[in-house]
C-alpha cells in the first residue's frame, strides 16, 4: 500500500522552475451555463494531480449546494452544476473556502487496485515492438511495467478507460501509425509516456502489451467500476492459463 500525505504536502512544493508549475491561484474556465473548470497547473505531474485530487475530494465532501458532479482530470477538475441552484461566483467562493480548509481535513490515501495481466502473445501483440524499440527482452518489459504503481489521472473517452501516469521512461513508446478498429476489452497499452487500460472494446491506437481477464465495466453492478481517478493501479503478471481461469470464473 502506498500512502501519500495528501493535503498536507500540497502547499509545501518549492516554487522553482525545476518543478512543474502549480498556479499560485487556480484558473477558472467557464464551460457554458452548467460547467466550471478549475485548473491548477500547466503540466502532467504527480504534484499537480495531487492538488486536483485533494481539492476534488474536499469539495465533494463539502456537499456544496447545486453541484451535480465533480470530474477530476490531469491538472483540473470540472464542476457540473445546476444553474437553478448556484452560479459561477458562488462556486468560486466555495472552491476558495475549501482551499483554505484543505490543511485541516484528512484526505484518504489513494486505494491501490491490483489488476492481473497476461502479457504478450495474443494478449499483447505489440510487446515485441516495445521490447525491440528499447533493446529490452520481453521479460524485462513485463518486469518494468509491473514493477510500478501508476496513478489514474483521468477516466475518459470510453467508460473505464484509465489514463495512468508514472510509466518509466524506458517504456515510452509511440502510438500506432494507424489505430486498430477493434481493441479487446481489458487491453493494457502504452502511448508515449502514458500507460492505460481499455475497459471496454473500442477502436484505439495504443501499443498493446497485455490484457486483464477482469471485467472492468459491469454496468448492472452496484459499483460498475473497480477504480476511480486518483486511485493507484498495480499490474500483476499472470500466465495465459491463469487468464483463462479468471476469465471463465468471473464470466
Amino acid at each position: 500500500m502506498i500512502t501519500i500525505a495528501l493535503g498536507k504536502t500540497t502547499k509545501a512544493f518549492p516554487k522553482t522552475d525545476a518543478m512543474p508549475k502549480l498556479y499560485p491561484e487556480p484558473i477558472f474556465r467557464v464551460m457554458g451555463d452548467r460547467g466550471l473548470l478549475v485548473e491548477y497547473g500547466d503540466a502532467i505531474s504527480p504534484e499537480i494531480n495531487l492538488k486536483v485530487r485533494s481539492m476534488a475530494v474536499a469539495l465533494d465532501r463539502a456537499r456544496v449546494k447545486g453541484i451535480v458532479e465533480i470530474i477530476p482530470a490531469y491538472r483540473s477538475f470540472l464542476i457540473l452544476y445546476e444553474p437553478l441552484e448556484t452560479d459561477v461566483e458562488e462556486l468560486k467562493q466555495s472552491v476558495a473556502r475549501v482551499e483554505v480548509g484543505l490543511e485541516d481535513i484528512e484526505i484518504p490515501p489513494p486505494r491501490t487496485i491490483e489488476i492481473p495481466v497476461a502479457y504478450g502473445g495474443k494478449f499483447g501483440p505489440d510487446i515485441e515492438f516495445v521490447a525491440q524499440t528499447h533493446g529490452l527482452s520481453i521479460d524485462e518489459v513485463i518486469t518494468i511495467h509491473s514493477g510500478n504503481a501508476y496513478q489514474i489521472y483521468m477516466i475518459a473517452f470510453t467508460p473505464g478507460f484509465s489514463f495512468l501516469g508514472g510509466l518509466p521512461e524506458i517504456l515510452h513508446s509511440p502510438r500506432l501509425p494507424t489505430p486498430r478498429a477493434f481493441v479487446p476489452a481489458g487491453s493494457v497499452g502504452i502511448a508515449e509516456k502514458q500507460t492505460g487500460i481499455y475497459a471496454i472494446e473500442s477502436p484505439g491506437g495504443w501499443r498493446l502489451i497485455g490484457r486483464t481477464p477482469l471485467k472492468l465495466f459491469q454496468p448492472l453492478a452496484r459499483e460498475p467500476f473497480l477504480y476511480s481517478a486518483g486511485d493507484l493501479i498495480r499490474f500483476v503478471p499472470i500466465s495465459a492459463e491463469e487468464y483463462n481461469q479468471i476469465a471463465s470464473g468471473s464470466a
Binding site: V68, P72, P83, D87, T158
Partner: protein, 320 residues
Amino acid sequence: METFFVREPGAFTTVQDAGRYGFQRFGVPVSGALDKFAFVAANLLVGNPETSAALEITFTGPRLEALADGLAAVTGADMPVALNGKPQPLWESFRFRKGDLIGFKPAAKGVRAYLAVSGGILAPGVMGSRSTCVLAGIGGFDGRPLRKADVISTDSATSIFRLTSIPEQFRPQHSNSITLKSVAGPQIETFRDSMELFFQSQYTVTSKADRMGYRLEGPVIPFASDAAKSIISEPSVPGIVQVPADGLPIIILVEQTAGGYAKIATVISPDLDLVAQARPGDLIRFSPCDILEARRIHLDYRHKLLDLKNAIVERDRMEI
C-alpha cells in the same frame, strides 16, 4: 406490456430518456434525448412524467405494428406520421389500437422526432437511465439502435386516455439557418485574436453530424501564435465547441466526456435543442452571450417547460 413489433427500424432509432448523470468521471457520457424540449413535450402529451423513456427517431422513422392499445405523440422534427396510412398531427396525442400500423415519412424539416407512448418505453435501467449509449453498449436495446423484429414494451399506463395538444406558440419553427448563443471559452487565450472572427462567421453543418458531435465547415479559426494546438485532456460538456488543428470547429454533443483540443466557446444548453434539429447543409452562427445572460436564458427555458405543462390543451377524453 408488449406494445409494438418493429417491422422496420428506421435509419437510427434509439431509446432515450433525460440522460445518465453522475458517471462522467468514469468516462460514461450523459447520452439522453438531444432535443430536450421536444422530448418533454412528447411525454407530457401522453400523460407521462417528463423524463419517461421515448424513441428518438433520426431522419427516417420506423414502421411499428401495435400489439396493444395506447396513446402516442410525435414531436420534434417535421416528420409526418400516419396511423394505418392516415396522417396524424404532430405535437398532438393520438390513440392506437392493437393491430394498427404506425409509419413515418422522412423528416421534411429538422432531424430528430420523438415518439412517446403512454406508460413510457420499458428498458432496463442501467446506472440510473434507460438511455441508449452505443459507445458503452448500454441502455435501451442492449446499447444498440432499434432493429427489425424488436418488440417494444411499455410500462403500464393509466386507462384514461386524454387526447391532448400543444398550443401553436410552444411549437418551435425549424429553420435552416440558426444562431446559437455561446459563452466564450474555456480556452479564451488560445483564441484571443480569433474570437471576433468566430462570432462573425457563418458555418455550414457537414454530413459528419451525429450525437457525438457536429463538424462544421467555414472560415478557419486561427490559433494565437504562442498557443499549442492541443491541450492536456480535460473534461468537456455538451455544446462545447472544440477547434482541432485544421481550425474547423466541432460542436461536441452528448456521447463524449473529454477532449484534448482547445475549445473556443460553449453553446448554452437551451440552444442545444436547435443543434439537435440542424441538418447537413444548414447554416450556423454563434452569438456571444455572457454567463449572466446564459443563466437568465436557462431560467427562462425552465419556466417555458413548466408553462408547457400547464398549457397542454385537452381535446377529448375517453376511457377504455
